[in-house]
């Protein structure tokens, strides 16, 4: 162990390493590498927590685990394996969720510093808040493919994890998903919604039936469609009830979703004036071909992987039938009205999605995808590999040395790029930024502006979608600042359940209402300033699936409300982002990281220039627009690597 060998580490670091007690959050890809490095470096008291158990697809990189460990808790096996590198270390393993209440501020205070080796934003953000509350330094990291990032967060000195608003997971407009898909991802998203409607937790925002309120359809002649809507059973009975009514008969389900609904869409003829109209399918005369394909070339390549074969439509229908039958049985076996949870690693669920999305693609003349590709897209798999994780795990320890010495001046944000940038760097070291004074988490009096559609926002949506999913709270209490202290949401189980389905407008929430949110566990208080969406905006918003928008900090509202408000919408409308929709899946491979290009983008759009001169005297990078485009950023960089051809002699 390096700390036990005099002359290897500088003396001051050696002493600090020997006496520190440290906490690793996550025993996955980065966690395994990190734990090995920490033990080799000679840290003596290491605590590690992970909620997960080991899966086969982990084994290509999480090298502390082997096949015989599959199914066992990651943290326990990681501990046992790492002890073989040096048995003279204390490793304490927790098989638990980091968001549990027992890991409170006092728990964090026992450590010299904390290292995140996590894969999702909510947990990262939670640990960030706990470290802020306990005033313990946090080393944050992430890896994705051959890219990686390591940085430091220290209360009052550097920015915190939430200082930079990360690009939100984008969603597709509801009508694209329901009425006019044009890309395989639209059909995949629709199929995941269908799964939830039939077998999972049905979400009103995930309707799969034709959307007759599509503004494009109504514009002129679509009136007829609107009128016939009342005759459609779909709008009155939920998809689940309907499916139960016909006992999940695969043929009937097929007929409804791939024939009746398609015919209904065809009746909204405005939609098809400039588009190729869909072709309804008949169960009894299915085409034998692989769906209309623009990528015939891809089939020329030899197929080395079973899942890479694209199924013909008849086979899709067969798989649809089989998977519906199995899923129906599973749903019946659930006790107490339980539902199925979609999981990319569940073969039947994956079969169902593959079949449904390719059938739907065929109907709309979209090229089909293999099960392999659909799994990537539906599961939002960001592939992770051992070597990148090894590099990230190494940089975390190098950063830890600076943290131990409290050398905040020397702390860097490290970007691992897997290619050489214009400065001839393989890794880019950037200064860590000073805190964002207007951060909605570490700012002095955190406030945020939330724009809502009064006609759609319920108390439950506010709690689940805004507070928990977007703002990463774990157990929020919300009180309306109305003089009487009306409680809107309580973290006590059951206390405010009965009002969950009510619209927030029933609680006299108007433009300018202030909501006091308090997450006791995170020691986090936030004031939400409510802004009501104008009718026009709300109508516009209707195209999208969300009925709210986080506008950012309060100051953004003052100068030009309209402009600021539309900023976010532009990107929402962007039909981009293959990686949409999958936030809910806590995939262990979803290791979201902000590369420099993100930073520049975020800086440019979200951080007002006026902050340029604030924070004078802080040793760290001022919060302003990057002085120069980062060499690793944006399109300039991409172009550069192309221009910079390799020297040929």
């Amino acid at each position: 162990m390096a700390s036990e060998i005099n002359g290897l580490l500088p003396k001051d670091i050696q002493d600090l390493v020997l006496k520190s007690k440290i906490f690793v959050v996550g025993a996955g890809g980065v966690g395994c590498e990190l734990l090995k490095n920490l033990v080799l470096t000679g840290f003596k008291d290491i605590h590690i927590i992970d909620l997960d158990t080991i899966e086969v697809s982990n084994l290509n990189r999480q090298f502390l685990f082997r096949r015989e460990h599959v199914g066992r808790p990651k943290s326990h096996v990681a501990k046992d394996s790492a002890l073989k590198f040096n048995s003279n270390v204390n490793i304490t393993a927790y098989h638990d969720s980091i968001t549990e209440a027992k890991y409170d501020v006092n728990f964090y205070k026992q450590y010299s510093f904390v290292m995140n080796a996590l894969d999702n934003r909510i947990a990262r953000s939670h640990v960030n808040r706990m470290c802020l509350a306990a005033d313990i330094p946090l080393i944050e990291s992430g890896s994705s493919g051959t890219l990686g990032h390591v940085t430091v967060h220290k209360k009052g000195v550097t920015e915190c994890f939430d200082c930079t608003q990360r690009p939100h997971q984008k969603t597709f407009p509801g009508c694209t998903i329901r009425n006019t898909p044009s890309d395989p991802i639209h059909c995949i998203v629709w199929s995941k919604h269908l799964f939830n409607q039939l077998f999972g937790l049905a979400d009103a925002d995930e309707d799969v039936s034709p959307d007759s309120a599509d503004p494009e359809a109504i514009s002129s002649a679509g009136k007829a469609a609107l009128e016939t809507e009342s005759e459609q059973p779909i709008s009155r009975v939920s998809t689940r009830q309907w499916a139960q009514g016909c006992e999940y008969d695969p043929q009937k389900l097929f007929h409804k979703f791939f024939n009746d609904d398609i015919n209904y869409l065809l009746s909204m003829d405005n939609l098809w004036k400039k588009r190729k109209p869909p072709t309804p399918l008949d169960w009894n005369s299915l085409p034998d071909a692989v769906a209309s394909s623009s990528s015939s070339a891809s089939r020329r390549a030899p197929i080395l992987l079973k899942d890479q074969r694209v199924w013909p439509i008849a086979e899709c229908a067969e798989v649809f039938k089989k998977s519906v039958e199995i899923l129906k049985k599973r749903l019946e076996d659930e006790k107490d009205g339980g539902v199925l949870i979609w999981d990319k690693d569940d073969d039947v669920a994956m079969d169902f999605i593959t079949a449904c999305s390719n059938i739907r693609s065929f109907i709309f003349g979209i090229y089909p995808k293999s099960r392999f590709d659909i799994k990537s897209m539906a599961g939002n798999i960001i592939p992770a590999i051992a070597s990148t994780n090894a590099i990230v795990g190494g940089f975390i320890v190098m950063t830890a040395f600076k943290v131990l010495k409290e050398d905040w001046y020397k702390c860097n944000s490290v970007y691992i790029q897997n290619r050489v940038n214009v400065r001839k760097e393989l890794y880019h070291f950037d200064q860590v930024m000073a805190p964002n004074p207007k951060c909605y988490v570490c700012g002095e009096k955190p406030e945020i502006v939330l724009k809502i559609d009064l006609e759609r926002m319920t108390v439950r949506m506010l709690n689940e979608k805004v507070l928990k999913k977007e703002l990463c709270m774990i157990a929020p209490d919300v009180e309306i600042e109305d003089g009487c202290g009306t409680i809107l949401i309580s973290s006590e189980e059951g206390e405010t359940d009965d009002i969950g389905d009510k619209l927030v407008k029933e609680f006299k929430i108007v433009n300018g209402t202030r909501l006091r949110c308090d997450d006791f566990l995170q020691n986090y208080n936030l004031v939400i300033n409510i802004v009501i969406m104008s009718e026009e905006e709300a109508k516009d918003r209707d195209k999208s699936v969300e009925c709210f928008e986080l506008v950012g900090d309060r100051s953004l509202l003052v100068p030009k409300e309209e402009d600021q408000a539309t900023n976010g919408k532009e990107s929402d409308k962007d039909p981009d982002a293959k990686e949409a929709e999958a936030v809910a899946d806590d995939d262990d491979d979803l290791e979201v990281i902000a590369m420099p290009e993100d930073d520049v983008k975020v800086l440019g759009t979200k951080r007002p220039l006026e902050r340029k001169d604030e924070g004078e005297g802080t040793p760290l990078k001022k919060r302003k627009l990057a002085e120069e485009p980062s060499p690793a950023s944006g399109s300039a960089y991409c172009m550069d690597t192309e221009v910079e051809t390799i020297d040929l002699d």
Partner: protein, 343 residues
């Protein structure tokens, strides 16, 4: 090897390669994530490659781990030295009670457990005792903890036989990677600009060629020569420090050791003085501070260097993406990670 580009969809045929075999369900499950990253073709090439790792120190252990996890056909671990107490800081493949045993053989058991689908073997013989033919059976050779003369000899054999060659080492906190892939033909997918754009057409694939120079040419650079003297100013000092440290190894047949830290440092600085004198460099350029932490092998730096080297091996084998051309010097204390390009 023939490479053709057709409407952006590339089909590649390689002579002498085993016929394409379908992946078993086991392989598909195990390599699922990386196939999603670098594609089936690359995985197939990896599965057919044979890797020789010479020098089983910290970097050797890291490269072995990453490459075995990645799923190559075979990996041979080669080292004629014995496990020492010092290995405890970076060599995690040997057990702590294996001190005195051969380092390659002592690494074998844990290396094999990483991935039962890869053939892993050990070789305890000396590099200088092996005939040239020994080295020609591999796809890639990674050399560390090796004398300059033997490294150059292996590099020469590798060049003549189309074997990819890497030299790499670590001195305390600093490390380097040298790459010689000969005349390297590879492909690069161009991802369209604009993040997250839904892209309906297959990505454009570029066919590229990179030419490399032998290790010897770089080790013997005379910085007085016009071409080199002109680039001294723009060259990160780390690379000069590496040349000095390699010279220390050549003279003492070992790396700087923590136990003899002060004496070794003195010797290093005197070699430095000689080196700057001979090459017309200034002492300020190759400052004392570059040699502050150069004893032993630091685990995290081995992890970074071995991780990078494994990545380069994958690129070399899969013939995908821009390779490292051709000398990478890493100094995390100074916060530098530069690639010097010698042609």
């Amino acid at each position: 090897m023939v490479t053709e580009t057709l409407n952006g969809v590339t089909s590649t045929s390689t002579e002498g390669e085993e016929p394409a075999k379908t992946f078993t369900d086991d392989e598909a499950a195990l390599y699922d994530r990386q196939i999603r990253l670098w594609g089936v073709d690359a995985q197939k090439r990896l599965n057919n490659s044979k890797i020789l790792i010479i020098g089983m120190g910290g970097i050797g252990a890291e490269v072995a781990k990453n490459i075995i996890l990645g799923g190559v056909k075979s990996v041979k671990l080669m080292d004629d030295s014995a496990v020492s107490e010092l290995d405890a800081s970076a060599q995690f493949l040997v057990s702590r009670d294996a001190v005195g045993q051969n380092r390659a053989e002592a690494s074998l058991q844990r290396a094999k457990l990483l991935n039962p689908m890869v053939e892993v073997s050990a070789e305890s013989g000396k590099v200088e005792d092996k005939p040239d033919e020994f080295f020609t059976q591999f796809t890639v050779i990674c050399v560390s903890n090796c004398s300059k003369s033997q490294a150059c000899r292996i590099n020469r054999i590798a060049r003549q036989n189309g074997v990819s060659f890497f030299a790499s080492d670590i001195f305390g906190f600093v490390s380097f990677i040298f790459a010689d892939l000969g005349e390297h033909h590879y492909q690069k997918e161009l991802t369209p600009h604009g993040r997250g754009k839904v892209n309906l057409s297959p990505p454009t694939v570029l066919s590229k060629v990179a030419h490399f120079v032998p290790y010897q040419d770089i080790l013997n650079i005379d910085w007085n020569l016009e071409d080199f003297a002109a680039r001294v100013k723009k060259t990160q000092p780390g690379i000069f420090a590496i040349f000095v440290l390699l010279e220390f190894v050549e003279r003492h047949n070992r790396k700087p050791h923590p136990d003899t830290r002060d004496a070794d440092l003195k010797e290093i600085l005197s070699i430095r003085d000689e080196y700057v004198e001979k090459n017309g460099l200034s002492k300020e350029k190759v400052d004392d501070s570059l040699f502050e932490n150069v004893c032993g092998e630091l685990g995290p730096v081995c992890a970074i260097t071995g991780g990078q080297l494994a990545q380069e091996v994958v690129k070399a084998v899969s013939r995908k993406d821009d390779p490292l051309v051709n000398f990478f010097v890493f100094n995390p204390v100074a916060g530098t990670a530069h690639v010097e390009n010698f042609v």
